[in-house]
Symmetry: C2
Subunit: 227 residues, 2 copies
C-alpha cells in the first residue's frame, strides 16, 4: 500500500508539540494538526495551536472537544483541585496527570488518520525534564504502536501506523536548540498548566519551572509573560 | 494496593455486551456500566443499555457522547454511507468498521475506572461469528492490556488493569446458552446495525444475520421485531 508523505500531528500548543510540528514540516510532511479542547485550565494553548497550525501551513487543523472531567479526575481539568506547585521531584506522578490522556489523543489521531489515508502520527511526548506521566515514556509509546497496528484496519491490511516521538529522549534545552535550527519562534507557545485566557503564565507550576530552567538558566531569551 | 471487587463494563446494549454485564454481575462484581452515544445509526441500543444497567443494578451508568463522525468515516455513523448487506464472508473488513472504536471506548473506560479506583474492565468483544473487526481479536486485546498498564498511573504504581473479554472465543450460540444460565432475557437487546428508534431490526445487515442464525437456526426463540 502506497501512502503519500502525510502526517497527523498531535498539537497542544506547548513548546514540545510545536517543535514537533516544525520538525515534521521541515521533513516535508503535509501536516494535519489535531488539538484537543479537553477541559484544560490553560485554554490559551488552543489559541497557540491555531497560530502555529497556520504558520506551518497545515492542510487542516482539527480542534476536537472531549471533556475529560466528565469521566476522569485531574487538577489540570477540575476547578475544584488546585494544581500542585510545591514539588519539583519526579518521584511521584503529580496531580496534573490526566488518566489516559495521550492514549485517547493518539487513538483519535489514528482514527482520523486512517479516514484520510495517513499512517504517520507525530507526538511531542518527552520523558526528560517532564512531570513523570507514564503516557510520555518510550516503553509506553513502543507498546502503543504495536497495539494500534493490531487493532486497526491499517495494520490488518498489511500497512503500519508509525507513531513518531522525535523528542522522547531529548532535554528541554536541546528541544529548544532543535527548534532554533528551523528558526522556530517560541514566543507564542504556552507551557503553563494554568495560563490565563490571554496566555500569561503563572511562573510557579512544574511546567513553567521546566520552561524557565531551559530558557533562562541557559541564557536564551523567552518572551513568555508571567502574571 | 487493595481493590474492591468492582468493574467497569463497556455496554453497547447488544447481545454480547449484555451477556458480559450479566456475567460480571453473576460473578459478584459491583458494576459501573459505560455506554457510548457515538453517532451510531442504531441509537435504540442506548435504550437497551439503560434497561439492562437498571436490571443488573449497576452502581452507575455513564452515557458518554463522542461523535466519531467528526473525525472518522464509517457506514455505522455516516448517513451518507449505506450499510453493506450483500456480503456475509469474513474475508474483508466491512464498511461498518469504525476506526479505533474499541480502543477509544476501552481507554475512556480505563480513564473513568482509574478515577473511581477500579482496575477491572469487561468488554464483550467476540472474534467468532463476528464482522472481522481487528479491534475484536484476542491478539489486539492482549496487546491493549499490556499497553494500558505501561501508560497509566495504575500500572506505574504497581497495580494492573485487567481487560476481561470472556466471550472472545465463543460462538454466538454458546454466548446465548451462557446467558440462559443466568436467566438472561435477550428480548430487549439490540443487535441490528440500523435499528429503528423503537428498536425494530432491519433483518438484513450482517449483525442481524449472525443473531438470526444463532437463535432461529438453533431452535431458540427470539423476540426481536423486524421491520
Amino acid at each position: 500500500m502506497a501512502y503519500k508523505k502525510k502526517a497527523v500531528v498531535v498539537l497542544s500548543g506547548g513548546m514540545d508539540s510545536v517543535t514537533t510540528l516544525a520538525l515534521a514540516n521541515n521533513q516535508e510532511y503535509d501536516c494535519y494538526s489535531l488539538t484537543f479542547n479537553y477541559g484544560q485550565k490553560s485554554i490559551s494553548e488552543v489559541d497557540a495551536a491555531i497560530y502555529y497550525s497556520k504558520k506551518y501551513k497545515c492542510i487542516e487543523h482539527k480542534i476536537f472537544n472531549i471533556n475529560f472531567s466528565e469521566f476522569s479526575s485531574s487538577a489540570l481539568t477540575n476547578n475544584n483541585i488546585a494544581i500542585n506547585t510545591n514539588k519539583s521531584s519526579q518521584e511521584n506522578i503529580p496531580n496534573t496527570y490526566v488518566p489516559m490522556r495521550n492514549i485517547i489523543f493518539l487513538s483519535i489521531a489514528c482514527s482520523w488518520a486512517e479516514s484520510i489515508d495517513v499512517n504517520n502520527i507525530f507526538i511531542g511526548a518527552n520523558a526528560i525534564d517532564y512531570s513523570g506521566y507514564p503516557d510520555c515514556r518510550e516503553n509506553f509509546l513502543e507498546s502503543y504502536e504495536k497495539m494500534i497496528n493490531l487493532g486497526s484496519k491499517t495494520g490488518a491490511d498489511g500497512g503500519k501506523f508509525n507513531i513518531f516521538r522525535p523528542l522522547i529522549n531529548m532535554k528541554k534545552i536541546d528541544i529548544i536548540k532543535l527548534g532554533h535550527t528551523f528558526n522556530l519562534d517560541y514566543s507564542r507557545t504556552v507551557s503553563c498548566y494554568q495560563a490565563t485566557k490571554d496566555g500569561k503564565a503563572c511562573g510557579v507550576c512544574e511546567s513553567c519551572l521546566f520552561r524557565k530552567r531551559a530558557f533562562i538558566d541557559n541564557g536564551l531569551s523567552d518572551e513568555t509573560i508571567y502574571i
